[in-house]
């Protein structure tokens, strides 16, 4: 509880302040809805929003899972030789710089309108941090420990499984933390252009000037991002609690 209290205080203060500013007419309600109006929009549209939330969550989770698998696999490949790394890393950077909003219409052409496009969008924006962090982790293995493994005749595959991969785990999890937030953003952008979910709810509500509903959907999207982030932190705490200083539970 002590952990949740500090971030809760600014939330309550801002919510109350916003409510007061809108009610007193300081901020027009067609620009920023009163928190009470957002809550009403959440309740009034609960079925539509719940269905949208389910779709967005599924797409973001699948995109994130694919990024994790493919990102780690690509990083392992890149770390296997300097030559491969030189040849392929620039293409991995492509994923970081790709303007997803410009690519999304292409995705609709390739994958059609629906879930596949949304998943692809979530995947594309979230894979780079997984590749970059995993690669850094795999390349920064303690040289003394590499010597030790060599001394006892360990093969490269055994060294990867028993040394380099576990040693890189804290960095891999850092990559996954960043990727989890990006996967939600990628899914929303995908839904804006070619799918159904919170993204399309935002898009439609916007054209209808329903700022309260836009805010309700945005709130749910943030909640989704937070939940994913929390999940990674939980996995992190469970796997690293015994050995990584920053994860030591007091």
């Amino acid at each position: 509880m002590r952990k949740f209290l500090p971030p809760l205080i600014p939330f309550v203060v801002i919510t109350l302040a916003l409510e007061w500013m809108v009610r007193s007419g300081l901020v027009p309600s067609y620009l920023v809805p009163a928190p009470s109006a957002v809550l009403r929009a959440l309740l009034d549209n609960r079925e539509e929003l719940a269905a949208a939330m389910t779709k967005t969550s599924a797409a973001a989770l699948i995109g994130f899972a694919l990024s994790t698998l493919a990102g780690v696999a690509i990083a392992v490949l890149l770390s296997s030789s300097r030559a491969i790394q030189r040849a392929l890393y620039p293409y991995a950077v492509f994923f970081q710089t790709v303007p997803i909003i410009a690519i999304a219409p292409l995705l609709v052409i390739w994958f059609g309108y629906g879930m596949k496009t949304v998943v692809a969008s979530a995947f594309i924006v979230s894979i780079f941090p997984v590749i970059a962090n995993t690669l850094t982790g795999l390349l920064s293995t303690d040289p003394a420990l590499r010597d030790l493994f060599r001394l006892y005749g360990a093969s490269p595959a055994i060294t990867l499984v028993k040394l380099r991969f576990p040693a890189a785990l804290p960095q891999i999890l850092t990559g996954l933390r960043v990727a989890s937030g990006l996967a939600v953003i990628g899914a929303i952008v995908g839904e804006f252009i070619g799918g159904e979910g919170l993204g399309s709810v935002v898009d439609i509500a916007r054209t209808q000037q329903r700022v309260d509903k836009v805010f309700a959907a945005v709130l749910l999207a943030s909640a989704l991002g937070l939940a994913l982030f929390g999940l990674i932190n939980l996995i992190s705490a469970l796997t690293l609690r015994r050995w990584h200083a920053s994860e030591q539970l007091q």
């Binding site: 303690d142 003394a144 420990l145 010597d147 030790l148 493994f149 060599r150 001394l151 006892y152 005749g153 360990a154 055994i158 028993k162 040394l163 576990p166 040693a167 785990l169 015994r242 050995w243 990584h244 200083a245 030591q248």
Partner: protein, 254 residues
């Protein structure tokens, strides 16, 4: 064969370095023309200023790097080497037992067998009680003991140590030195011990080599005239003081 310490069988490796040379980046000569014979079962301390090539020498002897010229001949040819670094370098995700058993695991030895051997090695360094703990839960001295157990678990015939106790407080270091000396007397392996500490070199070794700042030139090679039993009492013995004075003299001259 009976070696200097009186152990019955000599299990150690004999080494012969002939005109060994090591160059970095094609121009930076760290070791040049080094000749050195190390008898089986010897406890050799290597002293020298920082950057003179002590670690480089150990890595070559461990066959982790090859000399650029000259050769290192070992008798017997095939043997198990163990390496202990300045810091413990344990795997933080493994328990003490699994850290100590790691070398055997990498050599493909079954769980039962390797755990039994790891327990024996841990008992020898006084860590029998800690086998289920993780490195983060140990003190620096305990971690170094695990590292030592990990080196001993394969029953190596050559033990290479690169400033293993430099990061420890003096009392812990004194006790580990006594333990190491006992282990060596019991097992009769060859030990090459790199250190910056003149008192440590004199206390532990049967023979000490002092390297010059440049090109790994051997400035002093001395058989220490000290009793085989090394207990903490020896630390105030004038004979130890005499050996330290000789080593210090060699370290200081240029």
């Amino acid at each position: 064969m009976i070696n200097t310490s009186g152990t019955k069988t000599t299990r150690g490796v004999a080494l012969r370095l002939e005109r060994v040379r090591r160059v970095f980046d094609n121009k930076f000569v760290v070791i040049e023309g080094m000749d050195l014979r190390i008898d089986a079962g010897e406890f050799l301390a290597v002293l020298g200023p920082s950057g003179c090539g002590k670690s480089t020498l150990l890595r070559m002897i461990a066959r982790l790097a090859a000399p650029d010229d000259g050769r290192i001949i070992a008798e017997p040819e095939q043997f198990q080497t163990a390496f202990v670094f300045q810091d413990a370098h344990l795997l933080p995700w493994r328990t003490v037992l699994n850290n100590a058993a790691l070398p055997l695991e990498l050599m493909g030895i079954g769980r039962e067998d390797r755990n039994a051997k790891a327990r024996t090695a841990l008992a020898q360094v006084g860590l029998a009680e800690a086998e289920d703990r993780y490195p983060a839960q140990l003190s620096g001295g305990m971690r170094m003991r695990v590292s030592l157990a990990r080196a001993l678990v394969t029953d190596p015939r050559l033990l290479l140590m690169d400033e293993p106790f430099a990061a420890l407080d003096e009392i812990t270091r004194f006790n580990l030195e006594v333990q190491l000396r006992e282990l060596w007397q019991r097992r009769g392996m060859t030990v090459i011990f790199v250190t910056h500490s003149i008192s440590e070199a004199a206390f532990l070794a049967n023979r000490a080599v002092v390297l010059a700042r440049r090109k790994g030139r051997i400035k002093l090679d001395r058989r220490l005239d000290l009793p085989p039993e090394r207990t903490n009492d020896l630390r105030s013995d004038p004979r130890l003081g005499y050996e330290m004075k000789l080593l210090m003299g060699a370290m200081e001259e240029e």
